[in-house]
């Protein structure tokens, strides 16, 4: 039967090989062009660059943690509320998700700047006398990234909570369990896979983030993707950019490989 054949995959396979796999492998090859591993030694040996990797790692961890803290209550509420309120929740999650990262980042610049909306509001209400430093630093990058990545945490958690049979918490409540106990003993263990899936996704996406740190960090928060861009566009150091890319890629795949051991995540399963 035609719709069961393998050949329809061929055009897409060719596109992926020619314009995805080949260019990436070719670029990574630049890092060992000289026949030595010097560029890797530079990337992983020099304090300056090691710090960038560490920074990236730290930001990704914090972003994941905050997304989990905000995403769990939201996913939980959306999965357990009335259909009308669930739709409202989906609008609030999906509209930002599909709005350009650039628009959202620009909006945070407007909100967080020295004379921005937040500082104005705080100062006029008398809560602070001086503007808080929220932009062009670690805090700004963190806020912007959590905002961009939160939907990726909410959706898997929503899915996991939806899959919990409502008869189980109902039975526990009937037997006199408190809502805190129902959460810790029923919902949390049964939704661990959603928490895990969301966290891996957010962490991995954070590692390669470019636009938000470039704009909200104001040159003071260096993440690995920003460093790669600089090496290519400013210093034209392709071999070093390639070595940095290879290290980032290995980190990314390592996180996925570890995650795959715990969950099955084949798209077309």
């Amino acid at each position: 039967m035609t719709t069961r054949a393998a050949w329809p995959a061929l055009p897409a396979l060719i596109l992926l090989l020619v314009f995805f796999l080949f260019p990436v492998v070719r670029m990574l090859g630049f890092s060992v062009e000289a026949g030595t591993l010097d560029w890797y030694a530079k990337a992983l040996g020099e304090g300056l660059y090691l710090r960038v990797f560490w920074n990236t790692f730290e930001i990704a961890l914090l972003v994941t943690l905050f997304c989990l803290l905000l995403g769990y209550p939201l996913g939980f509420l959306m999965a357990t509320t009335t259909p009308g309120w669930a739709t409202f929740g989906f609008i609030c999650v999906l509209l930002p998700l599909w709005t350009s990262v650039l628009v959202r980042t620009y909006a945070w610049m407007v909100l967080l700047g020295r004379n921005g909306v937040l500082n104005r509001t705080l100062m006029e209400s008398g809560l602070t006398t001086d503007p808080l430093p929220l932009l062009h630093n670690f805090t700004g990058v963190l806020i912007g990234m959590v905002h961009v990545l939160l939907p990726y945490m909410v959706l898997p958690i929503y899915g996991a909570v939806r899959r919990v049979d409502p008869a189980i918490p109902a039975a526990a409540a009937g037997l006199g369990a408190s809502s805190a106990r129902i959460f810790w003993r029923i919902y949390l263990p049964l939704t661990l896979n959603g928490i895990f899936a969301g966290s891996v996704l957010v962490f991995v996406l954070s590692l390669g983030f470019f636009i938000t740190p470039a704009l909200l960090g104001g040159g003071r928060v260096m993440m690995i993707a920003v460093l790669i861009e600089q090496q290519v566009r400013e210093t034209l150091n392709w071999p070093f950019a390639a070595a940095l890319s290879a290290v980032l890629l290995v980190f990314t795949f390592a996180v996925y490989a570890v995650a795959q051991r715990f969950t099955q995540s084949e798209a077309t399963r």
């Binding site: 995959a9 959706l155 636009i211």
Partner: protein, 259 residues
Amino acid sequence: MSRRLLVAVCALIYFFLMLPLLVVFPISLSSAPYMQFPPPGFSWQWYERYLDDPQWIDATWRSLYIGGATSVLALLLGVPLAFSLVRARFWGRALLDRLALAPIIVPTIILSVAIYGLFAKLKLIGTWYGLVVAHTVLALPFVVLVIAAGLRDFDRSLEQAAEGLGASRWKTLARITLPLLRPSLVSAGLLAFISSFDEVVVALFLAGANMTLPKKMFDNIMMEIDPTIAAVSVMQILLVSVVLVLIGRFGRGLRDSAR
């Protein structure tokens, strides 16, 4: 009691999610000559400035047709790919599945730099079709995910009935399978369009002097915070809202594809 606390916490999180989208509306209608909040008065000046600037209009058209072409190409390649991945059994299927989703996993900066290197050699920098090809690589995983989800829930007995009644394979595909998949096709096509229309990292490297809308916005943000960006942002948010409404009305529910 604890439910009320949950609702209160979530209300704050909803506010956090929507705040950046809402804040650009008043700023885009400000009469101040520079970014000021709250706006001192009302004016359409930033919209007029956008509409009167041929650079902005050019960039918008370019983004629209690149997005349209990406959507068509991603569907033409992605739909058959999804059919094979879900329905066929062949050697290397699992590997192909990984490869098809890899553009989401591989950091966009790496993909951008890699394609930039290749396209510089092929003299494809600054061409609209070069960007379409790169955007199609990025859009393909979305198409595969949405179509594959649609195919998994597909009732095969309808196809079998059509074939049992003597319809050819192609007729079955054209008259039964694709019409039944239409909601998934609509969602996949619109998501591919938006993913290209919004895309900035690849465009930053490949667009050259031929700006797309996101690249023009990026350059403007780097230079000055001019409220024209707010007007462009409002239009972008409205476009996404329209697309989400279209998906909700004619597409396969995003809720289902969120799984």
